[in-house]
């Protein structure tokens, strides 16, 4: 199927159109698997009986550069990943790893007991444990009838 089309293909342009199509199809237009376009870091959210667990793959971070905050139902993790030391832009032969400042903000599906939260960083994986808040008793709200 042609990728490239003139609005109205006149006969003189048929050959050109075919040629451009051939060129475009020769280029791999697929962007699948391009790591750069992916969000960093990648996170998973798990639910257990009494808590939520957020895990994030953030290899190569100094714990002092890692910030985990919780505010009004949103968990925010942020930090900066430094490029390899002694590497300069013109010395890279291949550069696939993400570096630079990053931030992720995740809305949690339920209320959290904020006192019991804890975060661990081990072999490049951040794990934030968020205990669920005790569900409060259902409260009836009285409906007043207007005058």
């Amino acid at each position: 199927m042609p990728i490239f089309r003139w609005g109205q293909a006149w006969d003189p342009y048929r050959d050109l159109e075919r040629e451009v199509d051939r060129l475009l199809q020769g280029v791999n237009l697929s962007l699948h698997g391009v790591r750069f376009s992916r969000r960093f870091p990648q996170v998973n959210l798990l639910e257990q009986d009494d808590c939520f667990v957020l895990t994030a793959e953030i290899p190569g971070i100094d714990v002092s550069q890692l910030e985990v905050t919780m505010s009004s139902g949103f968990l925010t993790i942020k930090g900066t990943r430094l490029p390899p030391p002694e590497a300069r832009d013109d010395t890279f032969r291949r550069q696939e790893r993400f570096h630079g400042p990053w931030q992720r903000k995740i809305q949690l599906p339920d209320r959290i007991n904020e006192d019991g939260m804890r975060a661990d960083y081990k072999v490049g994986v951040l794990r934030v444990t968020l205990p669920k808040a005790q569900s409060t008793a259902v409260r009836q709200i009285k409906v007043n009838e207007g005058p």
């Binding site: 791999n28 699948h32 698997g33 391009v34 790591r35 969000r39 990648q42 996170v43 998973n44 959210l45 798990l46 639910e47 257990q48 009986d49 939520f52 667990v53 793959e57 953030i58 290899p59 190569g60 971070i61 100094d62 490029p83 390899p84 002694e86 590497a87 300069r88 010395t91 890279f92 032969r93 291949r94 550069q95 696939e96 790893r97 993400f98 995740i106 599906p109 960083y121 072999v123 490049g124 994986v125």
Partner: protein, 138 residues
């Protein structure tokens, strides 16, 4: 140094072997192509690879003939009572291999794993020094 040709995909993504059902210890595992950086220094080449979840016990780094292969095994620590609400990454092992050029000194390759990042130093072999050959009179 160049990428060896046995990679599964055309790029740095992953080759997926689906897991039937949940993660059982002996089930087929996912295998990923880890992202890497390679750069030159005055001593040779330095390679960085992101291997989140791999500790030094799970890492296997080999040089065979001219091929450097890194394999990182990830221990999944997911308890059985949990279920996924949101998933962006899959847990799996890491595999990638490279062809080393002749100028890399294989005997002096060093590697270090810190916080899920592998650093491999690939020093350049010392060039054979020019040697004067004495010619004796017969």
């Amino acid at each position: 140094m160049s990428e060896s040709q046995d990679r599964k995909g055309p790029d740095a993504s992953s080759s997926m072997i689906p897991i039937p059902g949940d993660q059982v210890a002996d089930s087929p595992r996912l295998l990923f192509n880890p992202p890497i950086d390679i750069y030159e220094t005055s001593d040779g080449l330095v390679l960085y690879a992101d291997l989140p979840g791999v500790d030094s016990d799970g890492l296997d780094l080999q040089v065979h003939d001219n091929r450097l292969t890194l394999f990182g095994q990830v221990k999944a620590d997911v308890s059985e009572s949990s279920h996924l609400l949101h998933q962006e990454y899959h847990v799996g092992d890491f595999l990638r291999s490279f062809i080393l050029s002749d100028e890399v000194d294989h005997d002096r390759i060093q590697a270090k794993l810190t916080n899920g990042v592998l650093r491999v130093e690939l020093p350049r072999a010392a060039r054979a020094k020019p040697r004067r050959i004495d010619v004796s009179d017969s």
